[in-house]
């Protein structure tokens, strides 16, 4: 039995009231070192702490200043993703860092990991990649675990039924030193996606539709559980995309109950339980779901069959609409200011918006299925002459798998750049960015002003939509590429494989 599962059972055993619980309640109870009281937050035990170069150096400084050790280096895993270049190494083997500071930051994490005995999936390691991509890929991310990282998109790991959330650098220090955090319990919200997605519509479109529905602060203070047939039908990559974007609705946590799809994804992965432990783990994981009559503070229902490919048009992820439509009316000053920045007008047809650059990548959409979806559109086609396109796979493993399938050849033949793994243009701090004024269609998660470079205008979309926009040179509904979505996504995947 995994420790997480048995803790959950113990917690359940202590709860003799038979009150139906949400999945969040169960995960919470199983990790309480101390319960919360009026004057004191709960102390929550953390099973997996993921660390990257950007939000950790100041935490290690505090440890050094106070003479503290890392309590559980074995539960702490590090990688390099944000500041590292996605361009190949220079002739002398050095990496083309954007700044000297970036190189210093990378060296700092390498040193800290060596000093404290933390495993680093670093440069040259075939397991390196975006932190929220490699956790699941290595099987480190498992149902029932508590997982934190100094990164808001830690919500991604909730796709496995793990309690996962982003923390600040002070809290990174707390977890390094104590493996615990002070936490107040969140409220709960269930988002049920009924019906089935139409061909050509993906988890990214579900996420954007959800955020448009609840608003950029609609999930604030809440643990958001995604449920319903359209969620159950998603593969793990899709569920990760959905949970990844829950923070863009302001939610503290995104969750999907684990099921056979989850177990099939994890089985055989490097750090997943093996042999008898695996069978025990699965039988325990199967109990990690919200009880039938569990109470949620908020319930929302979205009919997945009505969702069409989405695009964001503003400077907040909740400004999202169907790409085959028009820019909505400008309701207030914020909307007017956003439209000014985006150089878009109310009522304007989206398909008349000219695209300068396309980015496929990020912890939201740089997994193998994402790359396949984009490649399916690009196969035998060219990126429009005026469009620059960059593809950054989510990890070294995904890069290798994509190359084994020949996806990179499709991208390169179409005129796109095929890069090394990393966060790249999502956060644009490694030198990968748009030029001022450029319109970028991006599979990443944030369309904030300047996020992808000063004065860059970002429009968020799914990988298929981004690829369609690259080919058209203007915003485009991916369904116009006849034949790509004639059958289910499953067929689409197997035809690409």
């Amino acid at each position: 039995m995994t420790p997480e599962a048995s803790r959950w059972l113990t917690a359940m055993g202590n709860d003799m009231t038979d009150t139906p619980q949400t999945l969040y309640d169960k995960l919470w109870d199983a990790h309480l070192v101390a319960p919360e009281g009026k004057d004191s937050p709960a102390i929550l035990y953390i099973d997996l702490h993921l660390v990257h170069e950007v939000t950790s150096p100041q935490a290690f400084t505090v440890l050094k200043e106070r003479g503290l050790d890392v309590r559980r280096p074995d539960l702490t895993k590090a990688t390099l993703d944000h500041s590292v270049p996605t361009l190949p190494a220079n002739k002398d083997g050095s990496l083309p860092y954007a700044t000297e500071d970036a190189a210093t930051q990378v060296a700092a994490l390498q040193d800290h990991c060596a000093d404290y005995g933390i495993e680093l999936f670093g440069l040259g390691d075939h397991r390196r990649g975006i932190v929220h991509v490699i956790g699941p890929e290595l099987g480190l991310t498992q149902p029932g675990k508590t997982i934190v990282c100094g990164d808001s998109h830690t919500s991604t790991h909730g796709a496995f039924g793990a309690l996962a959330f982003g923390i600040g650098t002070t809290e990174v220090g707390h977890v390094l030193a104590t493996q615990c955090l002070f936490q107040r319990k969140a409220k709960t919200m269930r988002v049920r996606f009924t019906g089935a997605l139409q061909p050509g519509v993906s988890a990214k479109d579900m996420a954007l539709a959800m955020i448009a529905h609840v608003g950029a602060d609609g999930g604030q203070g809440h643990a958001m559980e995604f449920a319903g047939p359209a969620v159950e039908a998603l593969d793990m990559e899709g569920r990760m995309t959905l949970c990844n974007m829950s923070i863009e609705a302001g939610a503290r946590v995104g969750l999907v109950a684990p099921d056979e799809t989850t177990f099939a994804f994890l089985e055989g992965r490097e750090r997943a339980p093996k042999t008898k432990d695996w069978a025990d783990a699965v039988s325990q994981w199967k109990q990690l779901h919200s009880d039938d009559d569990a109470h949620f503070d908020q319930e929302i229902e979205i009919d997945a069959s009505t969702i069409t490919p989405m695009i964001t048009y503003g400077v907040s992820p909740d400004a999202a609409a169907a790409i085959n439509g028009q820019h909505p009316a400008l309701a207030n000053d914020n909307a007017r200011e956003a439209a000014d920045y985006m150089q878009l007008q109310a009522g304007q047809d989206f398909d008349a918006v000219r695209v300068d650059r396309v980015f496929i990548g990020s912890c939201t959409n740089a997994r193998l299925t994402d790359l396949r979806a984009a490649a399916n559109i690009l196969r035998g086609r060219k990126v429009a002459d005026h469009v620059a396109m960059l593809v950054a796979p989510g990890s070294e493993a995904i890069k290798a798998e994509a190359e084994a399938e020949g996806l990179h050849s499709i991208f390169i033949a179409a005129g796109a750049e095929w890069r090394e793994p990393g966060c790249s243009m999502c956060i644009a701090m490694n030198g990968d960015k748009g030029q001022p004024g450029e319109l970028v269609v991006s599979t990443s998660n944030r369309n904030f002003k300047g996020r992808q470079g000063k004065d860059v205008r970002t429009m968020l979309a799914s990988p298929a939509t981004a690829a369609a926009c690259a080919v058209n040179g203007y915003l485009a509904d991916p369904r116009q590429f006849a034949g790509q979505f004639a059958d289910s996504d499953q067929t689409e995947e197997s035809s690409a494989a």
Binding site: P41, I43, Q105, A428
Partner: protein, 194 residues
Amino acid sequence: MTPFTKLTSKSVILEQADIDTDQIIPARFLTTTESAGLGDKAFYDWRRGENGALRDNHVLNHVNTATHQILVAGPNFGCGSSREHAPWALLDFGFRVVISSDIADIFTSNALKNGLLPVQVPADIHAQLLDKPGLSITVDLENEQLSADGISCHFTIERFARRCLLDGVDPLGALLAQREAISRFEIAQIRAES
């Protein structure tokens, strides 16, 4: 951490909704390994134009933070990235309090750990405050009371964070004091495993 008890200071208004942490401090400045000295980077792309010159028409370029230490901002302030560089930059710029109708969760958590007080007020009070730049506002943390020129309201800060702020202590000490409880939890975990 500098204790926070009570502050009377004037307000600066940024009325935009959804001011995300990329606005507060752009990601390209996150390659630092320090937490000090980020005030110059606060709202960098709002305050500076081409070639990095300060924009004369931006309110933040005319703030005297000796007298104006309270930022009143539009709803959903601090959304987006978990970067603690955002409160570090705001504090180093000279703000001690952020007031909004709605402040993002991770930003709130980060702000409280650094002595920047995030104050959430009801929408009607928020609207009144947004209308009055330069208003002298008193924020009393002990009594969780905000008052200014006939405006008065109660606000709530999570009780443990409030105690830490009032005393100027870092919560890490309190966590470290729980070592025995943490060890007991871990031993139970190891037993369950075997």
